[in-house]
Amino acid sequence: MRPIIKVENLSKQYRIGTRDSAYTTLREALVAKARAPFSRRNGHSDQTIWALRDVSFEVKPGEVVGIIGRNGAGKSTLLKILSRITEPTTGFVDLYGRVGSLLEVGTGFHPELTGRENIFLNGSILGMSHQEIQSRFDEIVAFAEVEQFLDTPVKRYSSGMYVRLAFAVAAHLQPEILVVDEVLAVGDAQFQKKCLGKMGQVAREGRTVLFVSHNMMAIQSLCRRAVWLDGGRVCADADAGQVVADYLQRSFSALAEQKWDDIESAPGNDKVRIRSARVRVEEGTPDGRITVHTPLSLEFEYWNLVPDTCLNLSLVLHNEEGVLVLNTGPVKEPVWHGRPFPAGLFRSVCRIPGDFLNDSPYRVTLYVIKDQSTALFVYPDILMFEVCDTAERAGWYGKWPGVVRPDFEWTTEQSATSQLPQHLSNGR
């Protein structure tokens, strides 16, 4: 079967750095022009980065392809090129169908215009003809559930209504190729379900979908195939389940273990040196991933070089958003806590129970503390690991809110004796 999208050796270079970056002033440009004959610098010698490098792949009609990768891997750049917002530096893309993109819902909404007016404006910005919008108008309104507010300026909408309306317009685009970026982050559970249904429908109609998401569960269940971008290159392109598993594996092993056998060169100072640090999964999942249910241990080995020091380790965990999640130390450690350490090698283990951390990548900073007050040595980001969500929860693909995700005990019981007034009990 012939492809509907053909990407060949696609590269995109961005210029970074301070001098020649985004906001040049006219004066700088003029000065640079004036200087040009006398100077060998041409102002373009600043650092550049390749957001995409020799990316090639093909998509067949009707395929639903997930695109995954870390932040900065080139996913958004790829989508921007596919939707013709920006041009590639080299290489090309051949499109054999109309592309509709949901890069961000609500693009071009004007707060002063009413819901009705915005449907037409937004629709035409997304590439629908007036006729198309007219014929799908009722559908869009019903999908967004904003019937009563059609003639209210959208600036008076609640954020939920706004997003629903915006998505509804976008979802009724009917291009042959649909490019979707993280729409699942919007809306409440109910609405999210509708959106997923809509994407399923789009695919059922035989149209092609490119779906970018950080949400591995959504990718796994919506896409058959996934392309993994890393550092601007295609790192894997295969069955979605396989690629996602590899991807998670890789992020897990990001920095799960560090070792310094030579005491001379080990990190530390003349008081204390680190020998090793590692994340250990006590009863791991089959593929070695850490899920939200997995208990894990953070193990550290270190040399105490000054006899009779009261040492303790202290750990700080940061999550993906940079939130300091917790700080923990061996306050209840029974043997050595509060006792002076002789010189020698020590090993401390911190056990973090399952059903405690929420899904996120974590960075661990290690502090070595003396007398529970003075930090002798600090090693930021000594370990990094990722806690993944499990696929078992169905229906909700959004991020579980909260910094932690403890599995508290709940009880519900019926208080036996209470009698409801007759007119309130709705049973039969």
């Binding site: 012939r2 920006t86 399923g200």
Partner: protein
């Protein structure tokens, strides 16, 4: 807790299982085959670097509905939440006219020939206000539409164009006020009126040419935003808006002619008030300069266009 409720609901209906299945079926059954059969031989679009030298007027034509909607939005939004509404379109030139009549007509005693000075300056200000608003709105249009440019593809030319066209509505409204003014001053109209649409079109094209060039520069050099008001102010005094060309000594008049607006304004007055034949020479200069500016800016706009999304 939205989540828990959703879990309960979905366990009943299980939409994921559904969608997974549907997707799997589609990729190997007829639906996709039919699409595949209808695939064009040649790609609809080839996205490649540096392919944007041509003017691609056809592209703009394909997006004409968007041009209409953006214009419509600009018009619609302009006077929202103002209590005077579209009256501002009239008040702007009218009040300026009153002030200039006092300052230049009465105090400075500028002679406007057979036409009463208020009428003379109002006519000039009409077309000038349109022109000035058009270049300032379109000059800033790309930057203020940054959210569109970075999210959706369409020919960027549409944005400054919509800003210019939206100004035509104001011009139309302000033209209406001319009627009572002309009745009051008992000025009769003649066949010259048929020239007005042509003059307005030339003026709009000139404004578009300058506006889109400024808007593209503005994306990269934000200095333009500050330069525009200054440019407009200078340009006004360099154009015969509030004074007649006869104010200048004969041997310097050719300088005014270099200004493409001169031909437009002068002939606009002749079209409205008659009294003399059209100055074809100055109109010709305006038309030629307009065409030149239009082509030059369209070309440089197209050249800069491809970096808009990266720079804005």
């Amino acid at each position: 807790m939205p989540k828990l409720s959703s879990n309960v609901e979905t366990s009943l209906e299980n939409p994921i299982a559904q969608s997974t299945v549907t997707i799997k079926t589609t990729s190997d059954t007829q639906a996709s085959n039919t699409i595949a059969d209808t695939l064009p031989e040649q790609p609809l679009v080839r996205i490649a670097p540096g392919k944007s030298g041509a003017l691609r007027v056809r592209d703009v034509w394909a997006y004409r509905e968007l041009l209409y909607f953006l214009t419509w939005r600009d018009v619609k939004v302009r006077y929202k939440q103002t209590s005077l509404g579209a009256a501002w379109a009239i008040l702007q030139p009218l009040l300026t006219m009153l002030i200039f009549t006092l300052l230049f007509g009465k105090l400075a005693g500028i002679q406007s020939g057979d036409i009463p000075y208020p009428l003379f300056s109002y006519a000039g200000l009409l077309i000038w206000t349109f022109f000035a608003n058009a270049i300032s709105n379109s000059g800033n249009s790309l930057v203020s539409s940054a959210n569109l440019i970075t999210k959706v593809y369409f020919p960027r030319l549409i944005i400054p164009a919509a800003a210019v066209i939206a100004g035509l509505v104001d011009l139309g409204i302000a033209l209406i006020v001319l009627v009572p003014l002309m009745i009051y001053y008992r000025v009769s109209v003649g066949l010259g009126l048929v020239m007005i649409p042509l003059l307005v079109v030339i003026c709009a094209l000139l404004a578009l040419g300058i506006g889109m060039w400024l808007s593209a520069l503005n994306v990269k050099y934000r200095d333009i935003r500050y330069a525009i008001p200054f440019l407009i102010q200078l340009w006004m005094f360099a154009s015969p808006v509030i004074y007649p060309t006869s104010l200048l000594p004969e041997k310097w008049r050719w300088i005014l002619l270099l200004n493409p607006l001169t031909g437009i304004i002068v002939n606009f007055r002749i079209a409205l008030f008659g009294g003399q034949s059209f100055e074809w020479k100055s109109l010709g200069v305006s038309a030629v300069v307009t065409i030149f500016i239009l082509f030059y800016s369209a070309y440089s706009f197209r050249r800069m266009e491809r970096h808009f999304a990266d720079v804005v």
